[in-house]
């Protein structure tokens, strides 16, 4: 369906204005935004909230720490790191152009309630119909049996 493909592509071709002005990629800006909403108690927390893999977030966050936009403080559990915006990072989130993913939420919030409910219902029924919801629980920290560590022997047949 063309509309869905366009949406996906828009999200992919995220605004380059932030990059031109601030030297930030869309992924970096998205992580900044996520931390602006709430600091994270771990990298895995960020990964869950951005719905990307831990290893991807590790790389992006490292760059943001380099740029002094994010601080990374060892937690009590020394395997973890607490992540929050620096003052500089906060200014950037406030002044940088909005990512499509972020401004889309504004569009939805501004919708009349009835229309918004319809839209949400349509999206959710579609996500259920194509099995997208079965991908999510692992990422959303819902109660789940521990997932076996990934290995070659666990590759689905």
């Amino acid at each position: 369906m063309v509309a869905l493909r366009r949406i996906v592509r828009l999200f992919r071709l995220a605004d380059r204005e932030a990059e031109a002005q601030y030297g930030l990629s869309a992924a970096q800006l998205f992580v900044l935004h996520v931390l602006w909403q709430e600091p994270a108690m771990s990298l895995a927390d960020v990964a869950a909230r951005t719905m990307t893999d831990q290893s991807s977030v590790s790389t992006v966050v490292a760059k943001l720490v380099d740029k002094k936009l994010v601080t990374k403080k060892p937690a009590t559990d020394r395997r973890r790191a607490e992540l929050r915006l620096t003052a500089k990072g906060e200014i950037i989130v406030r002044t940088a152009p909005r990512l499509p993913q972020v401004s889309a939420l504004d569009v939805i919030a501004a919708m009349p309630g009835k229309q918004r409910a319809e839209l949400v219902r349509a999206f959710e029924s579609f996500a259920a119909a194509i099995g997208a919801n079965e991908m999510a629980p692992r990422m959303l920290f819902e109660d789940e049996p521990a997932r076996p560590r990934r290995s070659r022997t666990d590759v689905p047949a």
Copy 2:
């Protein structure tokens, strides 16, 4: 919105079964599917239909040609190449697991007409609301003024 993010993630974590069995990535399988629907008169044609960049398609198609799943034949205009599936490629498209992007279309086709119309309308109004449609015309070969060749001086400010 969670449902939409789940959908996007599902598409990203495309089925790994094809990869395990056939050594094909989701992108490769998607291109096979697109060529199965109709051979392409050029790489740009494939790029438009997959809504990805020409350079990405160039790489993916090169690999499919290597694997003898696609043939690449110079066209009359020697800048272009005509692409079509080999017999081997056709067998694979028929027997390989369906990509979520492809099976999603089946889900939609199987919907009752009223529900389908609602869903399509929801997606299209959302796409319009977030400006996704303004990204697309260039890719869809619609009549448009020629886009200037990309160069550093054309980077949006």
